[in-house]
């Protein structure tokens, strides 16, 4: 089904990626959280790009409960490392679709560059991201997002915004 309508699927996927990026850039935490399916795997690996996450520490490895913690924290008024919030914009490019494991899912690999400004300090993050998107009654939703930071083995400053 997807193979027969790749241009349409790619348009839909790109529209989703751009929308997700905008919500993250603008710190719209609830709207961003609503993009997820009930099952959540939000993964930012540390040190290397591929490993068993039960054998190696990650920068982020959230299931739904931990992601809910993250969102609640950001909205609490006491998450000092986001008081004031980061200003951000990210550019997404090189979008490619990969074969999904399930007929109701799509897998998209893309690159992004994120510029972040906070307390007068500007940071740039280059990354590849992989989205596993599922078609639900409410439209496309993220079941999994994996972010491979180019500098995931470098000492990083706070990533307390939505990456």
């Amino acid at each position: 089904m997807i193979a027969a309508s790749v241009p349409i699927a790619k348009d839909a996927v790109e529209a989703f990626l751009f929308h997700e990026a905008r919500l993250a850039d603008e710190n719209r935490y609830d709207e961003w959280f609503a993009l997820w399916t009930e099952d959540v795997r939000y993964w930012v690996p540390a040190n290397i790009d591929e490993y068993d996450p039960d054998e190696h520490v990650s920068i982020v490895y959230d299931n739904r409960d931990r992601l809910q913690d993250r969102i609640d924290r950001l909205k609490s008024g006491g998450a000092w490392s986001q008081e004031p919030q980061s200003r951000m914009r990210r550019l997404i490019s090189n979008v490619q679709l990969e074969p999904p494991a399930r007929p109701d899912e799509m897998v998209a690999v893309s690159n992004f560059v994120l510029g972040e400004l906070r307390h007068g300090r500007e940071a740039v993050y280059f990354a590849q991201q992989t989205h596993r998107l599922r078609l639900t009654a409410g439209g496309l939703r993220m079941a999994e997002k994996k972010v491979l930071l180019v500098k995931n083995n470098e000492p990083l400053h706070n990533l307390s915004f939505l990456i």
Binding site: A46, H56, I59, R66, S76, G77, A79, H119, P155, L156
Partner: protein, 431 residues
Amino acid sequence: MTTLAEPLAISSLLRLDEGFVHSDVYTSPAIFEREIEQIFHRGWVYVGHDSEIPEHGDYVLRWIGRQSVIMNRDTHGNVHLFMNRCRHRANSVCQFESGNSAFFRCAYHGWTYKNDGELVGVPYAEGAYEPDFDKSAFSLVPAPRMATYRGFVWGSLSADGPSLDDHLGPAAKHAIDLFCDHSPVGEIEVRHGANKSVIYANWKFQGGDGYHPPFTHQADFGTMRNQRAGRPSPLLGMIKKDTTLSRDLGNGHFCLDLRTMGRSPLPDTPWARAYLDSMLDAYGTERAAYIMNSGGPHSILMPNIQLLNPDLRVLRPIAADQFEITFYCAFLKGVPKEVNTARLRLTESRMGPAGSVNVDDVEMFERNQLGMRQRVEPWKYIGRGMTREFVDNDVGAPPEYRYENCRVAHYSDELTQRAQLRWWAAQMERP
């Protein structure tokens, strides 16, 4: 402000008997330069854990102050600490953070060393040097001293000075013991990845502050989860408790002594019961219960490691206003896999650049560094609890983990900061 050109009068920067410390201690580049020389290039500095290099030929690249060192295990199984510098023209001979190699070869002119340091290759040497040119005089140079305790490896760039035993002292060793003994075989494994943070603040901000959690960490993930469940945050109750202490472990080392709080209840699962049973078998009922309830040592050992379950954190100073922390998640040997997976999830939710605790510590340290730029009133007040310090012999702890003859105060008191600075002043003034 203290400048590079002025002589340093360390004693003029501390009024600890009144509870005051001058901001220059944390902001001055001149002070920082002396710290590098007196503390990091002279004293004992933690470099790594021997579980990071389990196989013959394994190596990791580390720092002692500003100097790059190779910690490796040679072909015969011996652990070395080599300065990462070719004996010929001083290029670094090791480029990767970790790996396995029988040789270190300098790419510049091809000088080649075995992994025990012996120089075995000097290309086109015939006729180029005196006939008595002795390759054995050009081995890789080891760090002047190396010493270990329970697999933790320290180096010192000074051939003289107190032994590692004296640097640690009995209390800090007991903190390491308590950290390792969460494993039924008493061993940790430090090869399961690490989060790394850069902090734009002074390296002497190392925690051990029991006053800040209810304020700084009011939005940590644990609190968020408690709020969703309608439970109060335990952080607020901690300051009211009298049974938890801040403790001076001697030689600048200190801890928040939370061992009596029963912080780490295990879930009621088969793997947790198997872990508990193995601990009971290994240590007996009383000692095992003590270890399990202690939550770990929560200790900070000068100058550069912190033992905060489940992490072994290692600090690297960069400048007066910049340092790095690497959070190694220490796995326990001899436990069900799920125990270590739980340790991974715990550190990810709290530490590193995207956890919920470290990021707000970073923010506070950086706000502190900014505040200290104000020169109108440069003195900081760290006098909390000065009138309620006392000497404690820790008689409630099993002898294996007893912190004898330590100054203690209330958990929230700034005894820890004062202990660190007294040690610091002594290092800075060493002739």
